[in-house]
Amino acid sequence: MSIWRTEPESRTPPWRGPYAPYDLIKELCIAVGAIVLLAVLLTVLLSSPDDPPSTIAQWSRQLPADFAATAAKELNGTSDTAEYGPPYNHSSGSVQHFFILHPQRWLGVSHPIDTAEDYVVKPLETIPNDPALSAALAEYKAASSTQKKEWTEAYAKPLEEYATAVEEKKVPPSTVVVNTSTGTVTVNTSGAGPVPTMMASLQSLAQSGGLEGGLVSSRQFFQTDYTKPLLFIADGGLLEERAEGQHLLGDQWGLMNETGSYPGQPWLWLYALWYQVEPIKSSPNADIQVLLIMSLLSLLFIFIPFLPIVNRIPRWIPVYKLIWREHYRSQGG
């Protein structure tokens, strides 16, 4: 018996009964016409969403303290991207595994990002005719890694305290002064060395729009890879703030949703569901766990014809009696 048979030939013999005329091509043409009409109707009634992208310039102007704090973390190697791990670097902050399976580590660093160099130092090096900046950069590059860390932490700490105070709706520390009209941030701290000068220049560069292009075309003139600017902006709070307003966060079942009130991807309901149940919900390995579960369920879905019990349910729950009622009536059944 062929492996593609799920039952003996005698249970589902080939049909030897009558055929009625049925125009398949006409049916296809009618279906295409109907779908075109439906799609046009939905388009005219509802259109489609197109929320404009956030830019680094907007981010640095709308949330200047958040931008400065993120930039400091990139320099310090403590941002989400800096601590991520493969495929961006050799850290381990976001490396997932499932028992002995460590595919993220095995596949290695394929899109290397050095956050300090790529997001701060190299963009600053493109700014011409700024002796103060050049001197600050030279001082920074000549320092030891311990010194660099001390300086950056001295700059970053007040910004972290500022962010916490804003989140908890408390009075922010006076060490951080945000000028909302110019979108500039001043961090009054000692022991930060050349970092405040560097960060102020980076903020100006960002607000002028120079960082967008700079981060994309850092390797060559023509580029279509937005990994660097996307990871940078995602390290900050602007995208998440917008996403929360649009119900796109994980605990809002966001991966099923579209921006606005448009239908999204309802067929992803089961994929989204697993992220809401413990212990997956609070696990640092949630993604690999959910993907493995869904891969297994997908395999089972593909091989339903061969799954015991599942492949008999249609027999036991006779929805088929409704579908084929005309046929059964004609047989006197």
């Binding site: 993220q104 095995w106 996403a243 579908i323 046929h327």
Partner: protein
Amino acid sequence: MSAVPNVPPGPPPGPPSGRPPGTPSWSGAPSHSPGASSKSWTVKLRERGVAALPPDKLLPDGQPTYVASWIYVFGVASIASLIVIVGSGCILALKGPAWWHETGVGHFFNSIHLWSVELFFFAMVVHLWGKYWMAAWRGGRARVWITGAITFLVAIPCALTGYVSQQNFDAQWISTQAKDAMNSVGVGAFFNLTNFGQMYSYHILLLPIAVVALVSLHVLLVRRHGVVPPFELQDKLADAPGEKGRA
């Protein structure tokens, strides 16, 4: 010189042919005498194809009388939706990925593309529900179910690559979030959701080819095996020995 104008020279001398010399293979006459093997790959492929799907099986003008329910239209509705997706996608591709942000006409075709995708998944889901309750894999039709299930699963990354190719806020958010899932299983090392060029290539070329190929295979298998017959109401073999565990 051939007596028939514009006919290429006849085949080189070989095994005796059932056709008069110089008769081209497309004239309908048999290509070689029955029983004789042909080393021609073309002949082998043609004969296998025609044996599996003779023209009146490939495009029948009738269906069994049990095909009598609206549930049967959701397969062709899925195909129709796919045709509209590809058509609107081709128009969007004609003007490039920035066009739909810049003009009303572009936005119109983007909307058609989005809604036809919703209709495609809608039709596919109703189609698969119907096929499940008919146990449409019976009678040697397991591959029909398998190709259909794989089509549904491949359509999902095809849609995902479309979402991350939108070059708007939605694309920014989806790519930076979903990258964590891809990275967690190592796929992110060679399938970079934040790489617009790569995602656009997958979306407009590689994955549509995969979906269309799978749908074509699925439909050819349906034509080959026919639409699954109804369950027998009086099933005498339900509990016969040796039947345990089988549908």
